[in-house]
C-alpha cells in the first residue's frame, strides 16, 4: 500500500484502521475491516471493487451517517461525529424529495443563505448539470438520469469541501456521462473540492483520479491504493496509462 507524497495530513481526510460491522438478525456481519486511507485536500479519488465490498458503507462513514464504527475518521484533524455541510454526498439513488420541484430540492441545502445567493447557486448548478427548462419539474417528471443530475446539483450547490459520489453516473447515457464527468472534474479542480467517486468504470477512474482505491469483499478491505501521477489531460493510449489501468484490473481479480 503506498501513500501519495502530497497528502496533507492536517487538512485532509484521515481514515485509520476503520472497521464497520452490521448486525443481521443478531449475527455480526463484518462489512469493513482495517481501512487505512488518506485523502488530501482537492484530491480526486476513485474507488472500485465488486458490489458488496463496502464502498457505499465507506462513503456513509465519511459523511457521518453511521455512528457506530471502529477506528478513526477525521477531517482536518477533527473527528467526524455526524453529517456536516462541509461533506456532501450524491447517493446511488437520487433521493430527491418527490413533493418538491428541482429548484426547491436544490434549495433545501441552502438554508440560511441570502435569497439572491440561493437563486444564483440554483441557476448556476442547474445549468451545470444541464437541466435548464426543468427548474419547476417534479422528480416524477424526470428520467432517471435527469433526476440523478438534479441530485448532483443539490450536492454541488452546498459547495462542500468534500463531495463523495456513489456510482452517480451509472444511469446516464454515455454522452451525458462524459460531459458530466468533465464538469465534475473541472469543478473539483477549480474549487479545490475533494472528490471521492465510487465507480465501476476502471478506465474512467484511472483517467481522473489522483489515486485509485481497489477494494475486495467479505469483509470489505482495501486491496490496493494505486497512485496515478500523470498530468492532465491524460493520454488514454500512453504506455503509463495502459500500465496503470492493467494494475487496477489485476488488483480487482483477486
Amino acid at each position: 500500500m503506498s501513500l501519495t507524497a502530497d497528502t496533507d495530513a492536517t487538512r485532509g481526510l484521515r481514515i485509520r484502521n476503520v472497521g464497520k460491522t452490521y448486525r443481521i438478525e443478531g449475527r455480526p456481519l463484518p462489512v469493513l475491516q482495517n481501512i487505512h486511507l488518506d485523502i488530501g485536500p482537492g484530491e480526486f479519488v476513485g474507488i472500485v471493487g465488486a458490489s458488496g465490498c463496502g464502498k457505499s458503507t465507506l462513503l456513509r462513514l465519511i459523511i457521518g451517517l453511521e455512528a457506530d464504527y471502529e477506528g478513526e475518521i477525521a477531517l482536518g484533524g477533527d473527528p467526524i461525529g455526524g453529517p456536516s455541510r462541509e461533506r456532501g454526498i450524491v447517493f446511488q439513488d437520487h433521493r430527491l424529495f418527490p413533493w418538491l420541484t428541482v429548484t426547491d430540492n436544490i434549495a433545501l441545502g441552502l438554508e440560511g443563505l441570502a435569497a439572491a445567493e440561493v437563486r444564483e447557486r440554483i441557476a448556476e448548478n442547474i445549468e451545470l448539470v444541464g437541466l435548464q427548462g426543468f427548474e419547476n419539474a417534479y422528480p416524477h417528471q424526470l428520467s432517471g438520469g435527469m433526476a440523478q443530475r438534479a441530485a448532483i446539483a443539490r450536492a454541488l450547490a452546498m459547495r462542500p469541501q468534500i463531495l463523495v459520489l456513489d456510482e452517480p453516473l451509472g444511469a446516464l447515457d454515455s454522452l451525458t456521462r462524459v460531459r458530466l464527468q468533465n464538469e465534475l472534474f473541472r469543478i473539483g479542480r477549480q474549487s479545490r473540492m475533494t472528490m471521492v467517486l465510487v465507480t465501476h468504470d476502471v478506465e474512467e477512474a484511472v483517467y481522473r483520479s489522483d489515486k485509485v482505491v481497489v477494494m475486495e469483499p467479505r469483509p470489505g478491505r482495501i486491496k490496493a491504493t494505486i497512485p496515478v501521477h500523470l498530468d492532465h489531460p491524460r493520454q488514454r493510449g500512453s504506455a503509463e496509462f495502459v500500465n496503470l489501468r492493467e494494475r487496477v484490473y489485476e488488483a480487482l481479480q483477486y
Partner: protein, 267 residues
C-alpha cells in the same frame, strides 16, 4: 354515499355518464315509488309520508322551519369540533411520529384509550363537561382526533429512511424538516386521516346531539320529531344529514387533492 378509501388515496375513477345513470336507477325508482305510492292509499298512514310533503315541510310547516336554525347550529358545532380534534390529532401524530421518546411514552396509552368505543365516551364527557355545548364539542373533537392522530403517525413512520438521511446530510433545521419533509411526506396519509375524521366527526356531531339532547341541532331536531311522531320531519332531518355528509367529503377532496398531486404520476 361517502366512500372511504383506506390504504392509499387514489383519484376516484372517472365514471362515464352511462355508469352514473345506471347507479342512479335504483334510488330514482325508489324516489318515484315514494312520490306516488302514498297517494294511492285510501287512508294516510303516519309512517308513509308522501315525498312532496316531506320536501315542503322545511318551508311550509311551523315545526319544519326550525330545521334551518338546527342546520346552522349543527354545522357550526361540526366545524368547530372537527377543527379542534383535527388540530389536536395532527399535533399528537407529529409529536409521536417525529420523536421516538414521545412515541414510547405516549403510544401505549393512546392505543389503549383508542379501544374505547366512541359512544362510550358520552357518559364520561357529560359527567366532566355537563350536558351543554362543552360535552358535544369534546365528543366531536374526540371522534375526529383518533383517526387524524393515527394516520398522521402512520404517515410519518412510512417516510423512507433515505429521505431522513438526506435531511441529515443537508443539515435541515427542525422547522424545515417539518415543513419540507415530515408534513409533505406524511400528507397522503394525513389526508386519509382527515377524510376519515371528517366522517367520524359527522357521526359524532349527530350522534352526540341525538344522545345528549339539549340545545339546537339536526340530531336534536330528529329526536324531537320522532318523539312527536312526525315522520315527515324525521325524514327532513335525515335528508339534511346525508346531504351534509356528502358535501363535506366532496368539498374536502376538492380542497386538498391538489396538494398531493406530486404523487399522482409515480409508478
Amino acid at each position: 354515499m361517502t366512500d372511504i378509501t383506506i390504504g392509499t388515496v387514489k383519484k376516484a375513477p372517472r365514471r362515464g355518464a352511462v355508469r352514473i345513470w345506471r347507479g342512479a336507477a335504483l334510488p330514482l325508482a325508489l324516489l318515484g315509488a315514494w312520490a306516488i305510492v302514498p297517494h294511492l292509499l285510501s287512508a294516510p298512514h303516519p309512517l308513509l309520508v308522501p315525498l312532496d310533503e316531506v320536501l315542503a315541510a322545511p318551508f311550509t310547516d311551523t315545526s319544519g322551519r326550525e330545521v334551518w336554525e338546527s342546520l346552522v347550529q349543527t354545522l357550526l358545532r361540526y366545524g368547530a369540533g372537527f377543527a379542534l380534534g383535527a388540530v389536536a390529532g395532527l399535533a399528537l401524530g407529529l409529536l409521536v411520529g417525529a420523536s421516538g421518546l414521545a412515541d414510547r411514552l405516549i403510544s401505549p396509552s393512546f392505543n389503549a384509550v383508542r379501544q374505547i368505543a366512541l359512544f362510550a365516551w358520552i357518559p364520561l364527557l357529560t359527567a366532566w363537561f355537563g350536558n351543554g355545548e362543552g360535552s358535544k364539542l369534546a365528543f366531536i373533537a374526540l371522534s375526529a382526533f383518533f383517526p387524524v392522530a393515527l394516520n398522521t403517525h402512520d404517515g410519518l413512520r412510512t417516510i423512507g429512511r433515505g429521505y431522513m438521511e438526506v435531511a441529515a446530510v443537508l443539515k435541515l433545521s427542525w422547522g424545515r424538516r417539518v415543513t419540507k419533509l415530515l408534513l409533505p411526506g406524511a400528507l397522503p396519509s394525513i389526508f386519509i386521516g382527515l377524510q376519515i375524521g371528517l366522517i367520524t366527526a359527522w357521526l359524532g356531531t349527530v350522534g352526540g346531539e341525538y344522545m345528549i339532547g339539549v340545545g339546537r341541532g339536526l340530531g336534536i331536531f330528529i329526536a324531537e320529531a320522532r318523539g312527536q311522531f312526525r315522520m315527515d320531519l324525521v325524514l327532513v332531518g335525515v335528508i339534511f344529514l346525508a346531504l351534509i355528509g356528502f358535501a363535506a367529503n366532496v368539498a374536502f377532496r376538492r380542497l386538498f387533492e391538489p396538494l398531493i398531486r406530486w404523487q399522482g404520476a409515480r409508478p
